[in-house]
């Protein structure tokens, strides 16, 4: 039986074939024409049987045999060489999310980064910047294969060390949220969506991993990334407030204490927690069904041995606005209006998605002029929230639901269903730049477009 190739799969195949002919600086590791200096980091993509709890084993693909992949800490502005070897049977690619790096090293085939063929090795070389909490993850097509791309364990944290770090904390902990065993569910009155059997923090279900060990009086900095392919997560640390100090690795203008926080897929939060309530607590999803599915981790004070306790946080509204300045941002040089809509394909199918009436790769390509400041004015006329991501740039959130704000720097922003949002960015990183919804079920079904520089 023959199967028609999806457009994104076609682009992937073409990118893989073209890898050998791509820019010499980027693929020199493949050609082996000259002696290579040793890589700073080596990643091996390979199948993994991940035990998330006793007798619960997930067949997945991961970096270096672990979930999450290794934490990469690297000084801002310093060149880094990362060798990635693909030991799977499918082409893969690694996206360095949130970094200002060249298109060919960014790890998105739509921008021209080559796919890494099965058995091949590829060297990513770039200068790590900007400082802050970034991450890396698979950026391959999954479509109806809900065991590929972001559904797998291919993700890890990348911390770009600032040149000066005031270090107002005693302990730093990186936490990755993920959902496992996706399948098509829902239907009925709505279209299909990805639903999951299990959820983990740092690859283990609640109660089955090592606890986070803290001491009374400590100030703990939590770096959280939502590495789920499609789900938003709400988290709370029982018995404690958490101060949001950064979003997507960028300090927020107005840090705030919260009882619960929300992370859309690909969003990151830096949370400062003062450990003033000795005991054994659960840091977990606020929704019981998701905690039961495994989304949580135990926080254990030194000398405490009790059963981990969960306490419901006060019901919390999540809004970016209180973390930002209330004043409007300066007017941009140009406004790019974008309309997001869904196309129904049946209650037994995922929706298809359009930007200004077209699905990728037929979406229009917007031409940017270097140095100009642009405002992407987004209207979400669908029934889903969309975590929108702009590659290779940081943007400023300048409007939510028609109300202005400023100073909040991010690379993923949720445009809520039936609302509007605007983000501003300066075109200062020439090259193809991908713009898409970070839900795998949306980006695979048309929700992407490219910006290019004149």
């Amino acid at each position: 039986m023959t199967r028609r190739m999806n457009r994104r799969e076609f682009v992937a195949a073409a990118a893989t074939i073209a890898a050998g002919a791509a820019a010499p600086d980027v693929v020199r590791g493949l050609r082996g024409l000259e002696p290579e200096p040793a890589a700073d980091v080596k990643l091996e993509i390979a199948p993994l049987k991940l035990e998330i709890a006793p007798k619960k084993v997930i067949d997945t693909v991961a970096y270096n045999g672990a979930v999450p992949g290794p934490l990469i800490r690297w000084p801002e502005g310093k060149p880094i060489a990362i060798d990635v070897t693909n030991r799977t049977k499918l082409p893969e690619i690694v996206h360095w999310h949130g970094q200002w790096i060249p298109s060919l090293a960014d790890g998105a085939m739509e921008e021209g980064s080559p796919m890494i063929a099965p058995g091949a090795m590829y060297r990513y070389s770039f200068e790590a910047r900007p400082a802050g909490f970034r991450w890396y993850h698979a950026h391959s097509f999954a479509g109806h294969h809900l065991d590929r791309g972001l559904y797998t364990g291919q993700f890890g944290c990348f911390y770009v060390e600032p040149k000066e770090n005031p270090g107002r904390y005693d302990q730093e902990i990186f936490l990755t949220l993920h959902d496992w065993n996706a399948y098509m569910g829902g239907g009925g009155d709505a279209s299909m969506d990805a639903v999951y059997d299990y959820a983990t923090i740092n690859g283990r279900m609640l109660g089955h991993g090592d606890p986070l060990r803290v001491r009374e009086g400590q100030r703990v900095l939590l770096h959280l990334v939502n590495a789920s392919a499609t789900l938003m997560h709400w988290l709370a640390l029982a018995g404690h407030d958490m101060t949001v100090v950064a979003m997507d690795g960028n300090a927020v203008p107005e840090p705030r204490k919260m009882q619960a926080v929300r992370l859309a897929p690909a969003e990151r939060l830096d949370l400062l927690v003062e450990m003033r309530n000795p005991g054994v607590w659960v840091l977990g999803e606020t929704r019981k069904d998701l905690r039961d599915a495994g989304m949580g981790i135990v926080v254990e004070y030194a000398g405490q041995t009790a059963e981990a306790r969960w306490m419901e946080p006060a019901e919390t509204e999540w809004d970016y606005r209180p973390f930002a300045h209330a004043q409007a941002a300066a007017p941009p040089d140009q406004v790019i209006p974008l309309l997001f809509e869904s196309k129904f394909a049946g209650h037994g199918e995922f929706d298809y998605w359009t930007i200004n009436g077209k699905s990728f790769p037929k979406t229009e390509t917007v031409t940017l002029t270097e140095g100009k400041r642009y405002r992407v004015a987004m209207t979400n006329r669908s029934m889903d929230d969309h975590p929108i991501h702009l590659h290779r740039h940081t943007f400023e959130v300048t409007s939510l639901e028609g109300r202005p704000l400023s100073g909040l720097l991010k690379d993923v922003v949720v445009v809520k269903a039936g609302t509007t949002a605007a983000v501003d960015f300066t075109a200062r990183n020439p090259g193809s730049t991908l713009f898409h919804c970070h839900q795998q079920t949306h980006m695979d079904f048309g929700f992407m477009m490219l910006f290019r520089y004149a």
């Binding site: 969506d193 999951y196 999540w318 269903a417």
Partner: protein
């Protein structure tokens, strides 16, 4: 961004097994066909169950345009039941979700016909379990057990039991459902006839996000191992429309024809359902599913 929580299969399978054993014991005593709900609840069941902490309230409204007629000089038809011709049947169905894989439904059947006023017809109770999503079956599967009473003037059998396996599948724009139901009577004319087979099926197509249309089929073949002649079987075909206006509402409408002698000739049916969620969820909050 929706999710069905992780459910473990072992406990559910234990309950399913118990229901099957109990149903099997009940059906094994002896039995007979008793399509007690005929023309009161005309619906092909889907495999999904109502979510926990929520309730579905449905009103089934069925009008028989052409059915059984009274004998000359009598208020009753030939089967000593009230005639169905020009009868309006209103059924209230209240279904409460127990957990992620079970529910229990309760029915109040009523009938209205010129000269007879509004009559209470009977009540049924219907527990149901389904295969949890975590089993990853290629189809939806559930098992319903319906037990209840109906008055003799509306049914030749007063106490009846139905076991209804339910299989369905949504793929692309198509929806398929099959309910191979088995009925038996505990009291009435059909007690000694054994188990009867009353299958129902549905196929529908999503014309768009809101409107789905298709064909529903309802039948009662009589005894499972010795079916009635086609002439005497109940056979009904309903071209039907479903309107998916909101997850909170269920709207179904159809016109049915019964081509056999054992079936009312023309019926118009409608279902209006409203889903009530008892768990407070505030959109955009830590209690939201978004």
């Amino acid at each position: 961004m929706r999710r069905v929580a992780g459910l473990r299969g072992g406990e559910t399978w234990w309950v399913l097994s118990k229901v099957l054993v109990l149903a099997g014991c009940g059906l094994g005593i002896s039995a007979v066909g008793a399509a007690a709900q005929n023309n009161y609840e005309i619906q092909v069941y889907g495999a999904d169950t109502v979510a926990p902490q929520s309730t579905m309230v449905e009103l089934h409204s069925n009008f028989t345009l052409e059915g059984t007629k009274p004998l000359r000089g009598s208020a009753y038809a030939a089967d000593r039941m009230f005639p169905t011709d020009h009868a309006e049947h209103e059924t209230v169905e209240i279904t409460n979700g127990i957990n992620g894989w079970s529910e229990v439904g309760f029915y109040i059947f009523t009938a209205e016909r010129s000269g007879q006023g509004v009559q209470w017809m009977g009540d049924h109770i219907r527990p149901r379990v389904r295969a949890p999503d975590s089993w990853h079956l290629p189809v939806g599967a559930s098992l319903s057990l319906e037990f209840g009473y109906q008055r003799r003037v509306f049914s030749t059998d007063t106490w009846t039991l139905e076991i209804r396996p339910i299989i369905d599948k949504t793929t692309g724009r198509w929806y398929l459902a099959f309910n191979p139901a088995l009925d038996r009577s505990f009291h009435g004319e059909s007690v000694n006839q054994g188990v009867t087979f009353a299958p129902a099926a549905k196929v529908s197509y999503d014309f768009n996000r809101v409107v789905s249309g298709g064909l529903e089929y309802y039948a009662d073949y009589g005894k499972f191992f010795d079916p009635d002649t086609l002439h005497n079987q109940q056979q009904q075909f309903f071209p039907a429309i479903d309107l998916n206006v909101s997850p909170a509402w269920e709207i179904n409408f159809g016109v049915g024809i019964g081509p056999t002698a054992g079936t009312d000739r023309w019926i118009v049916k409608g279902i209006l359902g409203r889903h009530f969620e008892w768990k407070h969820r505030r959109a955009g909050s830590s209690d939201s599913m978004q």
